[in-house]
């Protein structure tokens, strides 16, 4: 398992990939940061808050995470190296976990870059540290879930580009789960509404960004990640049965 993890990290960090991703993430982050500052009038101090930047941060995720995960399995298949992994004495489940951990590592690297913004804010304005930590935990959980989803999509196809595009479409669609649940039509059936609403990740993220850590939210993200990783495993195994 460790060699695969190491190899994945090498492919991210020996190439400009991880750095470019982190840079892009910081750049996008700084956009909402600077617009927030520009809105201030002279009497107020700038308070760093994820609640403010909430929607824009979500959009960055949707834009960036599929690009991070697109190569995970699609490229192995394209290079013909899937055969190497599958015929070496390593369990498929371990391959999935190793690759997930590698993606998570790069993701943490991307997140680490953004810490500069609260630090700058702390110098001149105000930062509620406990809220900030909660928000980061929330972002981490949500990102980990999207990474698992991106890996699943990457395991469906042979082309990284297709994996990225499909990933962006699906992740974008998932943003609106709570809106769908709240439409007038579905609200007529409260049970259906609550069933659909249970799948919405966005309100759960909102709790984190406001400084709440709820067990139910943690369980939601953890179970979503586990289900998606198991699904990825099944998808890889299934493809071996179907293809030549």
């Amino acid at each position: 398992m460790f060699p695969i993890y190491k190899k994945e990290l090498q492919s991210f960090f020996y190439t400009p990939f991880a750095y470019a991703m982190a840079m892009l993430f910081m750049l996008l982050f700084s956009l909402s940061f600077s617009t927030g500052i520009a809105k201030l009038d002279s009497s107020n101090t700038w308070a760093f808050s994820f609640t403010e930047m909430f929607y824009s941060v979500i959009l960055y995720f949707i834009f960036l995470l599929p690009i991070l995960t697109m190569r995970t399995f699609a490229e192995e298949r394209k290079n013909g190296t899937e055969v190497l992994l599958m015929t070496s004495p390593v369990n498929t489940a371990k391959i999935v976990i190793a690759k997930f951990l590698a993606n998570i590592t790069v993701y943490l690297f991307m997140l680490a870059g953004t810490i500069i913004f609260p630090i700058i804010t702390a110098m001149k304005g105000e930062v509620v540290v406990s809220q900030l930590i909660c928000a980061y935990i929330g972002i981490f959980c949500w990102g980990a879930m999207y990474i698992a989803l991106g890996m699943l999509i990457s395991s469906f196809t042979e082309s990284p580009i297709i994996a990225a595009i499909i990933g962006e479409v699906i992740m974008f669609a998932l943003l609106f789960v709570d809106d769908i649940a709240n439409t007038a039509f579905i609200s007529q059936y409260p049970k259906l509404r609550s069933a659909i609403y249970a799948f919405a990740a966005q309100p759960r993220f909102a709790y984190f960004s406001e400084g709440f850590i709820r067990l139910s939210d943690l369980v939601f993200f953890a179970s979503a990640i586990i289900v998606l990783l198991i699904w990825t495993y099944i998808s890889i195994e299934k493809r071996r049965w179907n293809r030549g």
């Binding site: 060699p3 492919s11 020996y14 013909g80 190296t81 190497l84 070496s88 071996r240 030549g244």
Partner: protein
């Protein structure tokens, strides 16, 4: 009956390293491999021969545990590939048709990754990598990106990967494709030398290669095994198709009648005029070819026909191959087969096209 089978198998298991029983693969309703069974002994090189699309790669993928089989069983050093994959895969070194290399890794980096993947102990890793690099002569490119290597080098890097960890059983799928003649000779010599402590199965559609390297051959076409035997036995079992070429000077009609009258001559298949009073006869013989040849010569000389040239076509593996593959399924014409099994240089383009076709079918 069943008891006999079990008994039989348990006896065989001790001696035979790799057993393949009833291996079958369906792609949808299309049967790619049809109940094939054979064994590979210790320290043996088994050639796996067949035209393109015969099911060679599918079979090898199944033996290596990459593709699940529809039916059948593969046992490697006593471990079932499907039931005990971790143990079985530790004894396998596999070089697939396309070398499984990462283009954005350096050669040494890649081999180090593979050594980790194959669970080579950390302390031995470095010496092991040095060993395979020396064997495959890739030491001079160890610091290069695999992306920038030529096809031949990529192939050798893939081969080096298969040898890491010194697995007992090597599966090589067309290991010499894409190499220059010099490298081909080197790799063949390497495969031969591997025989000392490995069992090897290697596939090819190049006949000369198989006859140069292998102890036994399995000939396969359209998913069916057509023959399993040593090369000598295969060649000898086809002596009936012996061809005699004889070039004579003298009267055509006279020579023809003399040759036809000789005992052991089946028929004259062709007569070519090579100049004034010089004719080349192509004659099919039956029975003991040496005796018939001598008889033909004696008869000709006795009747005043001088012999300029005489030789017999040795039944080589190519004839055997074509015959074997054509025999049961008469539909696949000789021409089709000849198209599929010419020499390497000619077939390069045609092969690609056919490979594509089979890939499409398989998908």
């Amino acid at each position: 009956m069943l008891l006999m089978f079990i008994l039989d198998f348990s006896i065989g298991k001790e001696q035979l390293m790799i057993t393949i029983e009833n291996l079958t693969k369906y792609y949808g309703s299309n049967r790619a491999v049809n109940h094939i069974s054979f064994t590979i002994n210790d320290n043996e090189i088994l050639g796996f021969l067949g035209p393109n699309g015969a099911g060679k790669s599918t079979t090898m993928n199944m033996i290596a545990g990459y593709l699940p089989m529809s039916d059948g069983k593969v046992t490697i050093c006593g471990a079932d590939v499907t039931k005990n994959p971790m143990k079985a895969k530790r004894n396998i070194g596999y070089l697939p048709e396309i070398p499984p290399v990462y283009p954005d890794m350096k050669v040494r980096e890649y081999l180090s990754f593979c050594a980790g993947l194959k669970k080579v102990p950390v302390t031995k890793r470095k010496s092991e990598i040095e060993r395979v690099m020396k064997l495959l002569k890739i030491k001079d490119v160890e610091g290069k990106l695999i992306r920038n290597l030529s096809k031949g080098y990529k192939q050798r890097v893939g081969f080096a990967q298969a040898l890491l960890g010194d697995p007992k059983f090597l599966i090589l799928d067309e290991p010499t494709v894409g190499l220059d003649p010099n490298q081909v000779a080197e790799v063949r010599a390497l495969i031969k030398s591997l025989k000392k402590d490995h069992s090897v199965i290697f596939s090819s559609h190049i006949l000369s290669e198989v006859s140069a390297v292998c102890d036994r051959v399995v000939i396969i076409n359209k998913g069916d095994i057509r023959a399993i035997d040593t090369i000598e036995n295969l060649e000898n079992s086809f002596t009936t198709t012996l061809i005699l070429h004889i070039k004579v000077k003298g009267s055509k009609a006279k020579a023809q009648s003399i040759i036809e009258m000789t005992k052991g001559v089946k028929e004259i298949t062709a007569i070519d005029a090579d100049g004034e009073d010089v004719f080349s006869f192509t004659v099919q013989l039956e029975g003991d070819s040496d005796a018939v040849r001598d008889a033909v010569m004696a008869e000709c000389l006795k009747n005043g026909i001088s012999i300029i040239e005489i030789y017999t076509d040795k039944p080589n593996l190519e004839n055997v191959f074509i015959e074997l593959i054509n025999r049961p399924v008469k539909k696949s014409g000789l021409q089709e087969l000849l198209d599929e099994t010419p020499d390497e240089s000619e077939s390069a383009e045609g092969d690609d096209a056919e490979d594509d076709e089979t890939e499409k079918e398989e998908e």
